[in-house]
């Protein structure tokens, strides 16, 4: 049934978020450290093991795929809830710092990508990755 897939997804998110909060507490901060990321890894693990045993029937998959397919409208709704006016009214320092921080991070993407692929090249060769 479709709800099985959605329930798997929901349980992964809840367990991941709890783990994220506990991880935050463990390192002494009142914030969620990687809860969503942990949930994603759990979902990958759980679904691939179910698939392996032939237990992931199409109806169950649909319960997950539905939520991944409404991702775009959810993100558009998220954009529509940002305090855009407040941010622009924040003054020049907020605009300059925000734009500069984004630009500097964009500029680093090719730098790290290049150094990562230099390190990874031999390993990829050994594994025979396409």
């Amino acid at each position: 049934m479709t709800i099985y897939g959605t329930a798997i997804l929901a349980i992964c998110l809840l367990v991941g978020q709890i783990a994220g909060v506990l991880l935050g507490r463990a390192i002494g901060i009142d914030a969620n450290v990687g809860g969503v990321g942990i949930a994603m890894l759990m979902l990958i693990g759980v679904t691939s093991s179910l698939q392996h045993r032939g237990r992931l029937v199409p109806a169950t998959q649909n319960g997950i795929l539905f939520w991944s397919s409404v991702y775009i409208p959810v993100v558009v709704a998220m954009a529509a809830c940002q305090n855009v006016r407040g941010a622009l009214a924040g003054g020049a320092v907020a605009i300059v710092a925000g734009v500069a921080a984004a630009a500097a991070a964009f500029a680093m993407v090719p730098v790290i990508l290049r150094s990562a692929s230099v390190v990874r090249e031999p390993a990829d060769g050994v594994h025979g990755e396409a």
């Binding site: 997804l9 929901a10 450290v33 969503v36 990958i44 775009i72 407040g86 921080a101 993407v109």
Partner: protein
């Protein structure tokens, strides 16, 4: 008048359903514009996100509130649809079908990009603050945190004892960054090589703003979303960890 009352009360009672309808229309209209007027060169999702941001501005202008369109009473459902709960559920769902191998291959680079990304944000944010005359360690660290994400800023500010005006500024900085990432990512993606899962993992760690990364990748190539979101989700937590501690101590030793 009677009819208008009836419509208003039904929409107010069904504000989540109304949100689904509004978002469907926005996404459909954006894809139609992308096809017809840009020949598909600009991604329909990129236009939809830009429309969402414009609507958020209009909502803030009309109501004076802080939640964009969701402050308009009969559109409050958009706040639920676009809030953290359903956004996280949808992000996790995108991980379905991700290949574990891709994650393992870029795992190390993802970790490095997280550290580099947080350092860059604090350096850029605090130097900008300094240039604009915020020259005490507390304000510089708080605005630097805002340049990381709009959550790191206020968390850091509260921890180091910043005033509410500086904290508000750090939130504004974080929102500006998120907006720039949402709009800028699809435009800049070809130039920075943002075309593979590995690049998306690095990008997520460097930029860190979950909302910016989530929307930026959606507007660029939907298949890259889970990889970028995976690393970005660790960024805010790490930023909150190092901001009030290591970063604050370093900045205080530099500016006295």
């Amino acid at each position: 008048m009677r009819i208008q009352d009836a419509i208003e009360s039904v929409i107010a009672d069904h504000s989540f359903v109304a949100a689904l309808a509004v978002m469907g229309v926005v996404v459909w209209g954006s894809h139609a514009v992308a096809r017809r007027f840009t020949g598909g060169r600009i991604h329909g999702s990129a236009i939809a996100i830009a429309v969402g941001l414009c609507l958020a501005y209009a909502g803030g202008w009309a109501t004076g509130g802080r939640k964009g369109l969701a402050d308009i009473e009969c559109l409050a459902g958009i706040g639920l649809l676009g809030g953290g709960m359903l956004r996280d559920l949808a992000i996790v769902a995108t991980a379905y079908g991700v290949r574990m191998q891709e994650l393992r291959n870029a795992g190390m680079a993802g970790g490095v990009s997280l550290v580099v990304g947080i350092v860059i944000a604090f350096v850029v944010g605090s130097t900008t603050a300094y240039a604009f005359g915020y020259r005490d360690a507390v304000s510089m660290t708080t605005i630097g945190g805002g340049a990381a994400t709009f959550i790191v800023g206020p968390v850091t500010g509260a921890a180091v004892g910043a005033g509410s005006d500086v904290i508000a500024l750090s939130i504004a900085t974080g929102v500006v960054k998120a907006v720039v990432v949402m709009i800028g990512t699809p435009l800049i993606a070809p130039w920075i090589g943002l075309t593979s899962p590995r690049a998306a993992l690095i990008y997520g760690g460097l930029l860190g703003t979950t909302s910016g990364v989530a929307a930026g990748l959606a507007a660029t190539d939907e298949r890259l979303v889970p990889y970028g979101a995976m690393t970005a989700t660790f960024y805010t937590g790490l930023g909150c960890l190092v901001g009030p501690s290591v970063v604050f101590v370093v900045i205080r030793s530099l500016v006295g």
